[in-house]
Symmetry: C7
Subunit: 102 residues, 7 copies
């Protein structure tokens, strides 16, 4: 698998491009959340993946998530990337905490 591009953007090495879920602005009880109370959204969808990185014995290790999967991001880190005026974030495969499987 030689990595998958998104909007013609291909992450390099073991980088993964994700789109964060949209921010919840209303609590389950229907109460409007002020901006400050809206924490960072840590769930996201994978939109593009690099081809992976060279392991300790020189073999290519593909990234461990696939395009379309839902993932849980760490609190910190990530590089913002704007594609066609929309915000995405680049993370290293190893920094992604986990993924949601059905």
């Amino acid at each position: 698998m030689a990595g998958k591009a998104f909007k013609s953007f291909l992450p390099l090495f073991d980088r993964v491009l994700v789109e964060r879920f949209t921010q919840e602005t209303v609590t389950k009880g229907g109460i409007m959340l002020p901006e400050k109370a809206q924490g960072k959204v840590l769930q996201a969808t994978v939109v593009a993946v690099g081809e992976g990185s060279k392991g300790k014995n020189g073999d290519l290790q593909p990234v461990s998530v696939n395009v379309g999967e839902k993932v849980l991001l760490p609190e910190y880190g990530g590089t913002k990337v704007v594609l066609e005026d929309k915000e995405y974030f680049l993370f290293r495969d190893g920094d992604i905490l986990g993924k949601y499987v059905n």
Copy 2:
């Protein structure tokens, strides 16, 4: 063993998802413990495990704990993960101090 998910959440690499034991609020002698005196609970149950990490020679090394086992957590570290409104914690396999075996 390709890792085990919990509530459809699968930790990545050598991460382990645990649920801390419930906090003791009463001493053995029956005295109510004020919140401050209730230290952090360091015992926990493993609820999900990643598939493991690549060892120095490139082989996959599964994590050393299994779902359902009781473990002893370090004082510090761990990442909070909320699943269905409940708190769980992600630790690296190597940071878990030990496990309780019968």
Copy 3:
């Protein structure tokens, strides 16, 4: 591939020489952007590449971008290189975030 020079300059090892896109001084709506508001240009074209670096098992690993490709640079880092009075920048292959593929 033994690396590709540009204006007779050959980067060494896994370094990549890039030319940043020209700075947008007018917004899409046609409004002049004051200097301060013009952020750093992070898109660039690869103009020269080193031959690559030795991997963990001693094999030569070529760089992962080619001359002519469009790439996304990190916010920080890079070494300025002036060739024939024009500014270029040297980055390590591993620091380039991604590339634009058609």
Copy 4:
């Protein structure tokens, strides 16, 4: 040797569980030692051992001390573990300074 548990607690990887010798409260000449003058006890007995850690070439390296051996602990480090209301300490095998052999 897959590690040895103690009071059903099994240290993980190359961790070693020890019980410090009891504190000397009286000098050889029979004089009571005030608490402050009683330094930390650095001699201890090994009560449980992990299975060891993966060496650089991937083989499992068992820990270098056995249950029941007397060891000399470093001045600092170690993690307190309470089992059945008694204090024990976890050290990495590599941090234990030496052992007493007959």
Copy 5:
């Protein structure tokens, strides 16, 4: 290639001895440059090379520049070496940014 000495001085391992180009004291337009405005000269000629360094798998890796080649030095680093009252500079092969090829 067992390294090449210069004025009987042989750099060790992967060190490279260079002589910086002479400082431009007059601008192209013929204006005298005050000392302060004369930046550090980053172009240099290789005058001696060490035999190289041992790679990760133990093989000898010769340096990537040859005596007589023109190179681009990093802004910082380098050790001054005076040979027969003239200033030269020692750099590690890996720190040299690039070389000028015809």
Copy 6:
């Protein structure tokens, strides 16, 4: 060579137990040296050695000094060990500067 104990104390891994030479309190000219002027004694005799440490390829590398040899210690470092009320010092094999050979 599985390491050599001293007063039933066996250093672990690549640790070496040494006894410092006695402090010179009188100069060669016969003048009494005040305590402050008596520098730290850096010469010592090896009294016990660990079995060594695992090298990069997993083989056991014995320590490079033997019991009974005279060695030169570094200015700093070393862990004090009291055996039968006498002071000894533990050093890592790699930190010992040299040894005196006849």
Copy 7:
């Protein structure tokens, strides 16, 4: 080559014992140099060498200088060693900048 001792002192591993050239106290023009103006002497003669150190693949790598050779020392570093009331200095082989060959 198992290393070479000097005045019965054998450096360990990849350490090299050198004797600095004597300090120039008079300029070429015959003017007495005040102590302060006499920089540190960076040229030295190798008087003893350790047997070398284990390379990444476990083989013994002898040091790259020989007894009797003239070397160029780095500005900083080195450990003073007094043998028979005379000052010598211990350097790691890798820290020696270069050697003078005829």
